[in-house]
């Protein structure tokens, strides 16, 4: 097991941690904006994840996945951003939205 393999495993572990963090924010996030940001982070983590997997498997094709996702990941954030603006005031954090 060369140092690279350890690094890859380490990277996977850390990325999973990041995903876990994003997940908790999606669950707990008081306002929609928090959740959207968490999704954004998740997308970035995915790009990284497929990059690492490309390194591990030596298959260049996985970089296409990260390339495509990088290009498109922010789209969900924009859609939700517009939605938030259209919807007017976000309710105070305590009360969960009803929409």
């Amino acid at each position: 097991m060369t140092f690279l393999d350890y690094a890859i495993d380490g990277a996977f572990a850390l990325l999973l941690l990041a995903v876990l963090g994003a997940f908790t924010r999606v669950v707990r996030g008081p306002s929609l904006a928090d959740r959207v940001i968490a999704l954004d982070l998740l997308a970035i983590a995915l790009v990284a994840f497929s990059g690492v997997y490309a390194a591990e498997s030596g298959e260049v094709a996985f970089l296409d996945v990260s390339l495509a996702l990088a290009l498109v990941a922010f789209f969900t954030t924009i859609v939700f951003a517009r939605y938030i603006e259209q919807r007017g005031t976000t309710p105070p954090p305590g009360k969960a939205e009803t929409r």
Binding site: L42, S50, A68, V79, F80
Partner: protein
């Protein structure tokens, strides 16, 4: 009208040549695969019917020419009329079971058209529907019977089936075939349980009633029984059912005909009576019985058709069919009176007429009926007595009785409307005067077609003082008495019928009502209009069927050792599981959408980890697009009704269905995985992906080249889905504008 004439002449020429054996057959393959071919066979039995169909058809067509003068959709009438005649001819000439069935259904269809001809009348439409439903249902049963019979006999050709009679009788399907064929015949020929549609069918214009409902169509059932007689007859079931049903129908028809005040309905009920007697005689094996059936068939067709046309004249000229109103039209309509009188004489069976010969044979046949001679004879006498009475009511009352107040001042019908009845009446008399010619020419070959052994029948007008003669005298006297006190009879029967708990019509209407309510109830349960019920029911059904299949042939071997799976794959699985749980617990749609995004990403990760970049990219793109579209849709959705989510019962039901579905899918996949993926297909694609389609990316090569046809389908589906969504979404805007 020309077709009818040509047809008639053709058949007439054939009369001489046809005796039982050397029938004319024409066969051309129609559906070779099923062994069904376009086969026609003209033998004695079909000859009688063919003559009947074309002859009566000619006269009725002539009559209709004048009857419909100036009627807007005359063309449509003759179209259906011609269609019916062809169908009827086909039915009687067909030598192939399926071909016969096709013509059988054609007659039902054209009769529906003809009964409902004056479609603006609600009564006509209702009775047309009723006739269609009853005869149609019978037709369906007949189809099953025909198929069973074809399989049992191993061939569709009727002539061969007739020969293999014994084989069929021992065949285990014999009883079902019998029942089904009876169902078809009884509904078509308006036998006892299914007789109610015939009187209602009088809503049709008179030529139709004259032709369809007296001479030809209702005889279809009788033809079927006669044609299959050699194959199916000869067993007690056949004899008993026919005799009993025939007797009941005959008596019931006769009784109710007296009660009817509308001349056409009265005629309809007498037709029911006649059909009853015909079925009665077809029950017997004795040649004399069959001969009686054929002769009475001929006699009945002649006088009934004539009488119907007479009533048509009355209706057309005098404007009413009510017995009470009509009277003393002798001077106004001499010719119609004459033909009515002649037909009535033949109907009541006075000596010089064919009717008498028919009645004589009938009594002889009745006495010879194997099972119950006295029952048959009794029924025949009673029925005929009432027939005599009806003959009086139909012929004497309107013409010789006191002058009635008819809505229109009656004057003689134009010549074409007289030709029919007069000719038929005269024919009845002429045939009566020369029985041997009729016997040898028509009756004998027909019976020959039905009975394997040779036929020796003497046809003479006068047989000397024999039992049947006495019976005839008895019938006539009874008839005259019945005619005298018909009003009292009518009241008695009225009371009796009123007291009847169920009538044919009533039960029919009730059954149709039940079916309609049942259908309505079912749709209300299924089509609740809520997406939730659709999804729930479909998933539940899938899960149930899969589980049933899995359990029935044993659970596949599940290897659950997950040792080799590296930790990060487990991490992803955990992510997906957590995502799903959040979706379930989400209070608002937004949280659910985000969590779904999470699950989508997790699934994409799995694709990545298992080496499928193509699919991973597609999954991610779709995931993002779905979230985007949801983002667009969310502002338009109504509040997330909390009630929807928290109803305890709903959530429980959904939860069970979902878990069941998940479990079944999991076991299925594990089963498939443990069996080991069949590499053979992948090997094939790996081998010729590059040479065949010049592409290394097998997934896309498959999509676009090898299995391009499927993609073509998917592409079309996608486009249609887009259109559907557009139609749903963009439409309201236009409506509002």
């Amino acid at each position: 009208m020309l077709i009818a004439l040509v047809g008639f002449v053709l058949c007439a020429m054939r009369v001489g040549t046809v005796t039982g054996e050397d029938a004319l057959t024409v066969a051309r393959p129609w559906v070779p695969f099923l062994g069904v071919d376009f086969a026609f066979r003209l033998d004695g039995l079909s000859m009688v019917f063919a003559l009947l169909v074309t002859g009566a058809g000619f006269f009725v067509a002539l009559y209709a020419q004048a009857y419909f003068k100036g009627h807007p959709d005359r063309g449509r009438f003759f179209l259906f009329f011609g269609m019916f005649m062809v169908a009827m001819l086909g039915l009687v000439l067909a030598d192939d079971l399926l071909l016969m069935f096709v013509f059988w259904e054609l007659t039902t269809a054209s009769s529906f058209m003809l009964i409902g001809f004056s479609h603006d009348l609600e009564k006509a439409r209702a009775s047309a529907r009723q006739a269609l439903l009853v005869t149609g249902a019978g037709g369906l049963a007949l189809l099953a019977g025909v198929v069973l019979l074809g399989n049992a006999a191993g061939t569709w050709r009727i002539s061969e089936i007739i020969a293999s009679g014994d084989l069929i009788r021992q065949h285990e399907h014999y009883i079902p075939i019998l029942v089904l064929v009876f169902a078809g015949a009884f509904t078509k020929s308006a036998q006892f349980p299914f007789h109610f549609w015939l009187p209602n069918a009088m809503a049709a214009p008179t030529p139709v009633s004259a032709y369809l409902h007296s001479a030809t169509m209702v005889k279809g059932g009788i033809y079927l029984l006669a044609r299959l007689h050699p194959t199916l007859a000869g067993t007690p079931e056949w004899a008993w059912t026919l005799t009993v049903v025939g007797a009941i129908t005959a008596v019931w028809g006769a009784v109710l005909s007296v009660r009817a005040t509308d001349l056409k309905v009265a005629l309809a009920w007498t037709t029911v009576m006649a059909l009853g007697t015909l079925t009665l005689f077809l029950g017997s094996e004795a040649q004399i019985g069959l001969a009686a059936a054929i002769t009475f068939l001929l006699v009945h067709a002649l006088y009934k058709c004539a009488l119907f046309l007479v009533v048509g004249n009355l209706d057309h000229e005098a404007g009413t069919r009510e017995v009470g109103l009509l009277g003393g039209l002798r001077r106004a309509m001499p010719w119609t009176a004459a033909s009515a009188f002649v037909a009535a004489l033949s109907m009541s069976g006075f000596p010089p007429f064919l009717g008498f010969l028919g009645k004589e044979l009938k009594y002889e046949g009745a006495l010879a009926v194997a099972s119950e001679p006295w029952l048959a004879a009794g029924a025949a006498v009673l029925a005929n007595a009432l027939m005599v009475a009806m003959a009086g009511v139909l012929a004497i009352r309107p013409f010789f009785g006191p002058k009635g107040a008819t809505p229109r001042e009656a004057h003689e019908a134009p010549f074409p409307m007289l030709a029919g009845p007069l000719a038929m009446g005269a024919l009845g008399l002429a045939l009566g005067l020369m029985p041997p010619i009729v016997g040898a020419g028509l009756i004998a070959p027909a019976v020959q077609a039905m009975v394997p052994e040779s036929v020796d029948l003497t046809f003479a007008m006068f047989h000397g003082i024999t039992a049947p003669l006495l019976l005839s005298v008895l019938t006539v006297t009874l008839g005259v008495i019945a005619y005298r006190l018909r009003d009292k009879l009518r009241r008695v029967i009225d009371a009796f019928v009123g007291a009847l708990p169920i009538t044919g019509d009533g039960s029919y209407r009730r059954v149709v009502g039940w079916i309609a309510d049942g259908a309505e109830g079912l749709t209300r349960i299924l089509q609740t209009g809520r997406l939730r019920t659709y999804l729930a029911s479909s998933f539940a059904v899938i899960a149930a069927t899969l589980a049933y299949v899995l359990l029935r042939n044993g659970l596949p071997p599940l290897d659950l050792d997950a040792s080799g799976v590296p930790f990060h794959k487990w991490g992803v699985v955990a992510l997906i599981a957590a995502g799903v749980v959040t979706v379930l617990l989400a209070k608002t749609r937004l949280v659910a959408v985000c969590a779904l995004g999470l699950v989508g990403a997790g699934v994409a990760l799995i694709f990545v980890l298992y080496g499928a970049p193509d699919v991973a990219i597609t999954q991610l793109m779709v995931d993002i697009l779905v979230v985007a579209i949801l983002g667009l849709v969310l502002p338009r959705l109504p509040r997330y009704e909390a009630a929807d989510g928290t109803k305890r019962r709903f959530r429980l039901v959904d939860a069970t269905i979902a878990t069941a579905f998940g479990l079944v899918m999991a076991t299925l996949l594990l089963g498939v995985a443990s069996v080991g993926v069949d590499r053979e297909i992948t090997a094939f694609y790996e081998a010729n992906s590059v040479p065949g389609a010049l592409g290394r990316n097998i997934v896309n090569v498959i999509l676009v080249d090898f299995r391009a046809f499927d993609t073509m389908g998917e592409v079309v589906v996608l486009a249609v889905a887009g259109l559907a969504a557009w139609a749903l979404l963009a439409r309201p805007k236009e409506d509002e504008a």
